[in-house]
């Protein structure tokens, strides 16, 4: 929440002084998100039950709903790539929500985190496409008409390289903007001004995580389905 300040005092600054590692804040908040998710996973793994209750119920609702959505869009093949998609969604969602805790900052409010994730997505969907189609994957870049193929090859290359860029900047711009708005409203009207914005930003951060997830799904669909 303190990303907009010139010298933000967040918990990560204090931790960094204690540890003396000189790492930027978003690394600590990414680790925090990982710790939260890993501990949830380890707690749940120990006591999985047939009739879910509590935390298991929450995760089953989210993951089950997302799996239905993916299978509806990609088809049965979607189940193979679903762990990656769902992991991405939950990871981004947790990192976004961490930004709402006072004194914490969203790891996704830094362009490096998002670039890393977007490049992972780029490599992954191309890997899936090459694994499925072999050398024939290049047909995805050729377009439908044979004599336009050289032009389409360049156009598709530009389009594919633009994908990680737009993924990165969209997530970064939205989350960073929300963090700055929170700080500004806190300066204008402490607490009273920020609480209404929390409801809006919980919605906004969920939608941003969902957009990242959905675009990854569309790209994977494009590399899995037959070329034109």
């Amino acid at each position: 929440m303190a990303a907009g300040l010139a010298h933000p005092l967040t918990y990560s600054v204090l931790i960094d002084q204690q540890l003396g590692l000189h790492l930027p804040p978003h690394v600590y908040y990414m680790w925090l998100a990982m710790i939260i998710l890993f501990s949830c996973a380890f707690i749940l793994r120990g006591r999985l039950t047939l009739v879910p209750g509590g935390l298991q119920n929450v995760f089953e609702t989210v993951i089950g709903g997302l799996e239905d959505f993916v299978v509806l869009n990609i088809g049965e093949e979607g189940r193979r790539v679903f762990p990656f998609l769902c992991g991405m969604f939950i990871f981004i969602l947790v990192m976004n929500y961490i930004g709402l805790i006072p004194g914490c900052d969203a790891a996704t409010a830094n362009v490096n985190t998002n670039a890393a994730m977007a490049i992972t997505v780029f490599v992954y969907y191309n890997y899936i496409g090459i694994k499925k189609w072999g050398f024939g994957y290049i047909k995805h870049f050729m377009g439908p008409v044979a004599f336009l193929a050289p032009l389409m090859l360049i156009l598709e290359t530009v389009s594919h390289i633009a994908r990680p860029l737009s993924l990165t900047l969209r997530l970064f711009g939205n989350i960073r903007g929300e963090e700055i708005v929170l700080v500004l409203l806190f300066i204008l009207a402490p607490v009273a001004g920020t609480i209404p914005m929390y409801f809006l930003f919980i919605l906004g951060k969920t939608i941003q995580a969902f957009i990242f997830f959905m675009l990854t799904m569309i790209y994977l669909k494009g590399s899995l389905e037959h070329a034109h």
Binding site: G65, F69, L165, I207, M214
Partner: protein, 89 residues
Amino acid sequence: MFFSRQDKSSGHMGVLGTVGTIGMQLVAATFVGLAMGYFLDKWLGTDPWLLIIFLLLGIVTGFRDVYREAMRLQRRSEEEGSGPGAGTR
């Protein structure tokens, strides 16, 4: 909260997501074309020409992506409007 009525709300979120991507894709493709032209020029030493050509190609790519996305949205809304199970999906 968004997943309690997953069937309906994921459709709305999907449309919102697609609409949100359109403008970004246009800008990103333009800049990628510009950057490719710039670095190819630096590499090959053909000063302004590849920059201009690749910038135009980037703009064309951006518009083509937007067009394709809009067509996909339209097709989906037609499917949802005319299909018998439009409300339940």
